[in-house]
Symmetry: C2
Subunit: 116 residues, 2 copies
DNA sequence: GTATTATATGAACAGATACTCATATAGTTG
DNA sequence: CAACTATATGAGTATCTGTTCATATAATAC
């Protein structure tokens, strides 16, 4: 019952150790990747930027993005799950809004990077 | 030769117009999504964070991540293409380093968000 | 030249992703 | 209650992604 040996060559052991020492824990790393994955899709960026300015209902967003309301709803579920948006019901209409202040800031940082 | 009509209901036309008015151009939006996609993978985050601290060769990184050198090389090509890393040759060894100052800052912003 | 070392690259493949479609649910109107 | 409106959700699917594997390339040593 031997452990699998890592056959990778290592030229600079001290660098590998240094990198491992300051590396993130796996769960935090995965959460971080998940966090950025939210911004890795044009539709989600557009939804987030729109909601950063104003509250919108699902069919408003669908009209804005020119995609189906179902697709919007799926994305909004994603954004709800990760805690970026919340909704408020008024009759049958659900109004979505941004609830995370960091979101707009992160998007802006990305934009600044592209434009500089 | 009629254009496809968008059949989506619109409850608040003025909000849709406002969103469209301040929306990003499609090419900039796609570049932005691509930019964030870089951080949407745990392996790439780990490579970028390691290179933010020190120069490393391919097999150092492979040993650190415990994945194949080929996988590392593919990711490094990705990071080279997007302009986040550069390399320097010393004999047969290629040393990679971070060349984009915003990268570490963006990752830190994401981390701050998770930890707050 | 050949052999070796370090890395790069294309193909293939499993898993993830973002959409569409059909259906379900929550609230309103009569 | 039934009919309607707005949204949610599960299944199915085409595309994308990150890896492995096999092979190619670049520099070194002989």
């Amino acid at each position: 019952m031997k452990e699998d040996r890592c056959e990778t060559r290592i030229i600079h052991i001290e660098r590998v150790k240094a990198a491992k020492k300051s590396a993130l824990a796996e769960d935090e790393l995965d959460m971080l990747a998940l966090f950025f994955k939210t911004f890795a899709d044009p539709s989600r960026i557009r939804i987030l930027m729109a909601l950063a300015q104003q509250e919108m209902c699902v069919c408003d967003i669908a009209a804005f993005l020119e995609i189906s309301e179902s697709a919007v709803s799926h994305q909004l579920r994603y954004l709800r799950n990760i805690g970026f948006v919340k909704n408020r019901r008024e009759g049958t209409v659900l109004y979505y809004r941004l609830v995370d202040n960091d979101v707009a800031e992160i998007i802006q940082k990305g934009l600044d990077h592209l434009r500089e």
